[in-house]
């Protein structure tokens, strides 16, 4: 049994995959806790789809997708907020417009970019076994930055999430906090795409966080439970992907969904006691 767990690590690609899986499994639910409690899941999904053009540009330039996708994600996140603010169109509509438009642009660019060596399926569904050394370094640095940022902004993010007007009256710049959160979200989504792909990164971002919501009582507990669930799904998904030759993204997503279903059944059978 132990051999099954350790043996794959004679290959350096598996070591890289393990590191990225853990980073994705932990980072996605930690920021996902804000996405879930703020009711911004659609925004997270849209953000993941909208970074596609940025990634295509990175492939065309032959650089790590991070260097183009991260700025693209941040720009898209800001764009979604701005469209809604300045046109009076409801936020979910403006998110939908930017989402579809950017994803379509990315797909058209991909279809015309014949000289790039990228598997579209891996991009959409994730392939953690294919991450490069640079991807690992960049993911680790970005994850550390986001964790530090979330800790530094913890009070402002929590107060703003619970009571935006009250927080604003207490002197917190809620608009700035919102953009900071979107910026972090864009970074985490790009880290997550490596493992779970554009289409399925939501299964890492919101499903483990929602599982945490069902199990834990308080917000920080929700983040911790989410991180444990996310890391479990990601690492187990990585092993299944290796041994059963399955695409990593769908495998992780299925495991994550399974863990959520188990938590949901538990909560239905044993409802949360008051106090």
């Amino acid at each position: 049994m132990l051999g099954y767990i350790i043996d794959p690590f004679q290959y350096s690609f598996m070591v890289r995959a393990l590191i990225v899986s853990v980073l994705v499994g932990v980072m996605c639910p930690v920021i996902g806790a804000y996405v879930v409690t703020r009711g911004r899941s659609f925004m997270g999904d849209a953000l993941a789809h909208s970074v596609l053009p940025g990634m295509v540009v990175a492939f065309l330039l032959g650089i790590s997708p991070f260097f183009a996708a991260v700025p693209a994600g941040v720009v898209v996140a800001l764009l979604m907020g701005t469209v809604s603010k300045h046109t009076g169109i409801s936020e979910d509509t403006s998110i939908g417009i930017v989402f579809a438009g950017m994803f379509a642009l990315g797909m058209v660019m991909l279809s015309k970019a014949s000289n790039i060596n990228v598997n579209i399926e891996d991009l959409l569904l994730g392939q953690v076994l294919g991450v490069t050394q640079t991807d690992v370094y960049v993911s680790a640095v970005l994850a550390a930055l986001v964790l530090m940022g979330l800790y530094i902004f913890h009070r402002q993010l929590v107060f703003t999430t619970f009571d935006e007007i009250g927080a604003s009256a207490a002197g917190i710049r809620t608009g700035v906090v919102e953009y900071v959160l979107l910026g972090f979200l864009a970074l985490v989504v790009v880290i997550g795409i490596q493992a779970a792909g554009i289409v399925l990164v939501m299964a890492m971002l919101i499903t483990p966080a929602a599982t945490g919501y069902l199990i834990a009582r308080r917000f920080v507990g929700m983040m911790f439970v989410g991180a444990i669930v996310g890391a479990t799904a990601a690492v187990a998904g990585m092993y299944l992907s290796y041994y059963a030759d399955l695409p990593s993204g769908p495998t992780m997503a299925l495991l994550s969904t399974g863990l959520f279903a188990a938590a949901a059944l538990y909560r239905v059978k044993w409802p949360r006691s008051r106090d």
């Binding site: 879930v36 409690t37 703020r38 009711g39 800790y151 530094i152 902004f153 913890h154 009070r155 402002q156 929590v158 107060f159 999430t161 619970f162 009571d163 935006e164 007007i165 009250g166 927080a167 604003s168 009256a169 207490a170 002197g171 917190i172 919501y213 834990a216 009582r217 308080r218 917000f219 507990g221 929700m222 008051r274 106090d275």
Partner: protein, 246 residues
């Protein structure tokens, strides 16, 4: 006189939202240790007034002067309408009162210091909810939630406490308890302003009533202010006469 000594001077205050004038030419002053009931119809500008006093909205004309112990933005605590709060957020009573400490420059990093914890403890005792500190907010009644939000305002060490639609979802018995609690807040020198669309049952509990519907319709003690004519003027109907006569 308690530790707080705020004074508010509102001069010629006009506020626009989305190109519409919501408040126009308001002039009034509020002294320390005063409990004010703010009444007016829905959309009459009560929330706008409070959000302007709290520094969230900016006047299009005129302004608000802060005097006495009021010197920074965090000195005004705002208890939002229950509907605007995010009840999806899994927070205990203790967590919410802790948020009161996330102000006046203490907005960075994660955990509370010793003085913060003492303050949270004291404020929860003051509103009688220390025993429920581990309860989830969603498990509390409307009146208890309102008490938690008042404790948060106290933890903020604010000189002015604004409560928007404070009695929505709060039963009459609990309203009395909250008014008693707010009176103790005033005794420490604070200014407390409470907005509601219907104060007929409790108006005598306030030092002053502020009646607004875009303009200032009346400002003074309940006895000299509240009349069927005022209600007709404010709401465009005399239907409140039945309730006032009751």
């Amino acid at each position: 006189m308690g530790p707080y000594n705020p004074r508010l001077v509102i001069e010629d205050l006009s506020v626009e939202r989305g190109g519409h004038v919501v408040l126009e030419g308001l002039n009034f002053e509020v002294e320390s240790n005063t409990m004010i009931g703010v009444i007016g119809p829905s959309g009459g500008g009560k929330s706008t007034l409070f959000q302007t006093l709290a520094g969230i909205l900016h006047p299009s004309e005129g302004g608000v002067e802060f005097h006495g112990s009021l010197d920074s933005r965090g000195d005004v605590a705002y208890v939002s309408q229950s509907e605007t709060m995010n009840w999806q957020f899994p927070a205990t009573v203790y967590d919410v009162v802790s948020m009161g400490r996330y102000t006046n420059g203490n907005i960075w990093l994660g955990w509370l210091g010793r003085r913060d914890k003492e303050m949270v403890h004291m404020c929860l005792n003051q509103v009688g909810l220390w025993g429920r500190r581990s309860s989830l907010m969603t498990d509390l009644s409307g009146g208890q939630r309102q008490r938690v939000c008042i404790a948060r305002a106290l933890a903020q060490e604010a000189s002015v406490i604004l409560l928007d639609e404070a009695f929505s979802g709060v039963d009459v018995g609990a309203q009395e308890g909250i008014l008693d609690l707010l009176r103790t807040c005033c005794v420490a020198g604070r200014i407390v302003m409470l907005a509601t669309h219907d104060l007929t049952d409790v108006m005598e509990r306030f030092d002053k009533l502020l009646c607004i519907n875009c303009n200032l319709h009346a400002y003074g003690s309940p006895e000299e202010t509240f009349s069927p004519d005022l209600i007709a003027d404010l709401y465009g109907t005399r239907s409140f006469e039945v309730q006032t006569a009751r």
